[in-house]
């Protein structure tokens, strides 16, 4: 086990990438994730890697496309407006099945919005922000340690499934400091990148493209992708629960909101209210079955988000009409407080929902 150090969330992501063997980073400054490119500009030269500040997120994400084609472990990071600009490249990479890691330290939108933390990019991340029938693997850490661990996992998942993986954080996670243990990465058995365009030496040439003018072929390609997504959905569902066993009111929250919801659970329990928490960690694939099972014994579900309600659509798909699904959210960079969540719990309990 490694040393315990105090790190900012953003820096933990950067160091995790280096631990995962990422030696190529392309990015463009944007608050609240500037610590990542800044850290990389110091650290990459020390480990013989490449840091390059791109002229834009459009360029940066296409540099990632190129580096992934060349077989590298590669990452770019940004925040909401910058991630919007990357959607074209993301769609291309999903179509061409290129592994890469993308980080979105979400801030309040829409448009230029603000720089405080938000979860309003859930739809964009999980429902396909770019064009076409594709899926990103989306992981939602809720502590600095998890930012580190899941960033390392993200590189492995990307290589394992040849798919872009997104870490969906928020400004609070990016800016806060918590202790982390720097762990050695467990060795993974990953498929060799025989498809990479590194020069056709002693083999037929490799071509990486997402073009397919023949609709019969394009449909086939999409069906093959769909099979892969199904495999991911079977194998990579991640979630955690907190005092959920006997919960009459089950909170569902991810990322920073899950931390706040957990605080609300603690206060509620002190007051004798049976409240628990279900925390999706993989937002895609969403833990539909696990949530349905966890919620089986509870009377009601309360979704808490830093948005006006995005994940709630997936929660509804999991719960269907078996019990009421309520919502509490703040948006625009505002954060719910544990007290507000508690008030909401008390309100719905009282109303007999």
């Amino acid at each position: 086990m490694g040393e315990k150090v105090l790190m900012k969330g953003n820096e933990a992501i950067a160091e995790a990438a280096i631990l995962a063997g990422c030696r190529h980073f392309f990015g463009y400054p944007i608050t609240p994730q500037n610590e990542i490119p800044e850290y990389m500009s110091r650290r990459m030269p020390e480990v013989g890697g490449v840091f390059l500040q791109a002229e834009s997120e459009v360029a940066g994400s296409n540099m990632v496309y190129g580096a992934a084609c060349a077989g590298a472990r590669v990452m770019t990071t940004s925040s909401s407006p910058g991630i919007s600009l990357m959607q074209e490249a993301i769609s291309y990479m999903a179509g061409a099945e290129l592994p890469c890691v993308l980080v979105n330290i979400v801030r309040g939108g829409p448009g230029l919005g603000g720089i405080q933390g938000s979860q309003a990019d859930y739809f964009q991340a999980t429902k396909g922000g770019g064009h076409g029938d594709y899926k990103l693997i989306v992981l939602a850490p809720s502590s600095v340690q998890e930012l580190m661990d899941l960033t390392i996992t993200a590189f492995d998942l990307a290589d394992m499934y040849r798919n872009p993986v997104m870490i969906l954080g928020d400004a609070i996670l990016g800016q806060m400091m918590e202790p982390v243990i720097l762990k050695e990465r467990p060795k993974q058995d990953l498929p060799p990148k025989t498809w990479a365009t590194v020069g056709a030496k002693m083999r037929p040439k490799n071509v990486i493209t997402s073009l397919s003018l023949d609709p019969v072929k394009l449909e086939k390609h999409n069906l093959r992708l769909a099979e892969k997504y199904k495999r991911v959905a079977d194998e990579q569902v991640r979630y955690k629960t907190y005092m959920a066993d006997d919960a009459e009111t089950l909170l569902v929250a991810y990322g920073t909101c899950a931390r706040i919801a957990q605080a609300a659970v603690d206060i509620a329990r002190e007051r004798g209210l049976k409240v628990g928490l279900f925390r999706p960690i993989s937002l895609w694939p969403f833990p539909y079955d696990a949530l349905q099972l966890t919620a089986q014994e509870s009377l009601r579900v309360l979704v808490v988000e830093m948005s006006l309600g995005q994940m709630i659509e997936d929660v509804r798909l999991a719960i269907l009409d078996s019990k009421p699904v309520c919502f509490y959210g703040r948006t625009g960079g505002m954060t719910p407080t544990p007290r507000e969540v508690l008030d909401e719990i008390e309100k719905i309990v009282e109303e007999g929902i």
């Binding site: 405080q116 800016q175 400091m177 918590e178 920073t256 931390r259 659970v265 007290r339």
Partner: protein, 192 residues
């Protein structure tokens, strides 16, 4: 033990640093900790604050909305955060820059002339350390020695020459708190 603190002041008064020192020291002493700063362009010459949790339990919310303690180094910070402090909590304010104490009777209030003391010691920039000393002595959340240990890790090597001066500033803060304890707060002085 469960301490939720807000350190607040002007940008440049070093509130983020003293918050980080408490967080680091807490970690060294084996507690669960988190540190959350304010950030962005509003920090330029504006106000800055950080929210710190030091706890024997797992830290759930890193956002502090009902602090057990507030260390306010300027008036706008005191005005903003004093109403947030939990009943029975602690407010330490920089009486060099803040004329009137916060209007709360349900919390413990300690005035620390941090700028004056720092000036006496010859460097205004260590006013934050004077306030921190007073806070450490009053809250006992982490020990002063651990904070000095943390300082070695948090400050870049080239600024380690400042540590002795910081130690003096911490000591002066501790002294101010002790005098206050023995004079005004006979009930808690036993904890010294």
């Amino acid at each position: 033990m469960h301490e939720e603190v807000v350190f607040a002041g002007f940008g440049g008064q070093g509130v983020l640093l003293i918050g980080q020192l408490v967080t680091y020291a807490g970690m060294i002493e084996g507690a669960n900790v988190s540190w959350m700063p304010s950030y962005g362009p509003e920090m330029r010459g504006g106000t800055a604050n950080c929210q710190v949790v030091v706890s024997s339990k797992e830290v759930s919310s890193p956002l502090v909305t009902e602090p057990t303690s507030l260390i306010a180094l300027n008036k706008p910070s005191l005005d903003k955060f004093a109403p947030w402090v939990k009943r029975g909590g602690l407010i330490i304010y920089n009486s060099s820059l803040i004329q009137s104490p916060p209007g709360r009777t349900d919390v413990r209030v300690l005035a620390v002339p941090a700028n004056e003391v720092a000036n006496e010691l010859g460097d205004l920039r260590i006013a934050n350390m004077v306030a921190l000393g007073a806070y450490l002595a009053t809250s006992r959340v982490v020990s002063c020695d651990t904070v000095l240990d943390a300082m070695k890790r948090v400050l870049p090597e080239r600024r380690h020459n400042l540590i002795p001066l910081n130690r003096q500033a911490l000591a002066r803060g501790i002294e101010i708190a002790s005098v206050w304890h023995s004079r005004d707060r006979g009930d808690v002085s036993g904890r010294q």
